[in-house]
Amino acid sequence: MAEIVLETKGLTKYYGAKPALDHLDLRVPRGCICGFLGRNGAGKTTAIKLMLGLLAPTAGSASLLGCDSTALTPAIRQRIGYVTEGHRLFRWMTIGRLEEFQKAFFPGQWDSRLFADMIEYFELSKKQKIKHLSNGQRAQVSLALALAPNPELLVMDDPTLGLDAAIRRQFLEGMIELITRQGRTVLFSSHILADVERVADRIVVIDKGVLRADCSLEQFRTSVRKVVVYFENSAPADIELAGLLHFRRSERQLELTLVGVGDAEVADWARQAGAGRFDFVEMNLEDQFIEFTAPAHRRRLFQWEKA
């Protein structure tokens, strides 16, 4: 496995009595784009802030580029880019002034040409003040500021939240552009699964502060699957199958959502359960994510049980 550039060990954060993050153990290897997934309130922003040393952990630790997050030196910080949720930038500054301000943190590695090119491409001017920009334009400035120092590790907290499709695509292009330079790594959180699928080769999934998956995107795509099993008479009442996430039942059908269950195991189970036949249902990443993070005994939202 490639060198690990971002790692957490038992990373835990309590707000009051409740854990926002509960013993998170994850490892991000160099050279990948890692999509950081989780529902609202799952703990993604907390995890990112802990990784960057902006919050102190209740227990456990995080490290970036081999350096503990609570003790990041300026020399290490200089190799890391961070884009905050909502692209908070100093409102009173002009784009040009903001560039000078940021540049000071990255001595000797600021790509002024790239920054100028991007600002021009976005049809902005360095004379414009941040407070006069739209949300989308502010995000574009934020993207240019993130890429100009050519960071070794770029961490972005939901960078495309609320942005239109064209600006979202620019963020994806920016990530691909960075990753094609040798040894660069990106971690970004997002709720747009189609975007994640496009650019990520690894994903981390957390749910209610707990790590649920840390694997290649392909592994997740092949592991989470749905199978419809047909029975001649009635479907069995009890289902014992390791890897079963949840199921739906109708008279002569069972719809099983499985994780990490191979074709042969499904076939064995179906034969033992007396099933007639079964079909795998193809799922896209969004469906897989919804199924994977759904509570075990969930009801559908708009479904009223008949008494």
């Binding site: 990948c32 784009i33 695509r169 994806l172 292009e173 691909i176 552009e177 990753i179 094609t180 699964l193 189609a194 975007d195 699928e197 496009r198 650019v199 990520a200 080769d201 392909e218 795509r221 193809e282 799922m283 896209n284 990443l285 969004e286």
Partner: protein, 138 residues
């Protein structure tokens, strides 16, 4: 780039598989011919805005199926059909896939002649490549 590709994200089909299908389709239809060079991994990744590892994975699969060969340092090229190794397992997989399509056709109510006519019509798309093969063999 002579090759025109369209990636759809959010699809049930993984992106590397979409690439494999589109490139092997282009080879079968003769849009890509023996010796043609595929775009460099990074260039194609940047153009399609997808992860370079996804492109590399697709190229590896195409190479494993014998459709392309990679020459270290110079790139990935469409291989010579005469040199492609086809094994029984690949033929078997193909036959199973055909079964899926035939059962759909049967369920739609098509009879043997209608199905054969449809098959012939679809083959026209691949005429350039298919007939070229016949000429060389014969």
């Amino acid at each position: 780039m002579a090759l025109w590709m369209q990636i759809s994200s959010g699809s049930e089909t993984p992106i590397y598989q979409q690439l494999v299908e589109q490139i092997s389709g282009a080879i079968a239809r003769g849009e890509l011919r023996t010796g043609d060079k595929l775009p460099a991994v990074r260039a194609l990744a940047a153009e399609l805005v997808i992860n370079p590892n996804t492109v590399a994975r697709a190229y590896t699969l195409l190479e494993q199926s014998g459709l392309v060969t990679t020459k270290t340092g110079s790139g990935t090229f469409v291989s010579d059909p005469a040199l492609r190794q086809v094994d029984a397992a690949q033929i078997n997989t193909l036959a199973e896939r055909m079964d899926t399509l035939i059962s759909r056709a049967v369920n739609l109510g098509l009879d043997r002649s209608a199905l054969m006519a449809l098959f012939e019509k679809r083959l026209e798309k691949f005429a350039g490549t298919l007939d070229k093969g016949k000429a060389e063999n014969g």
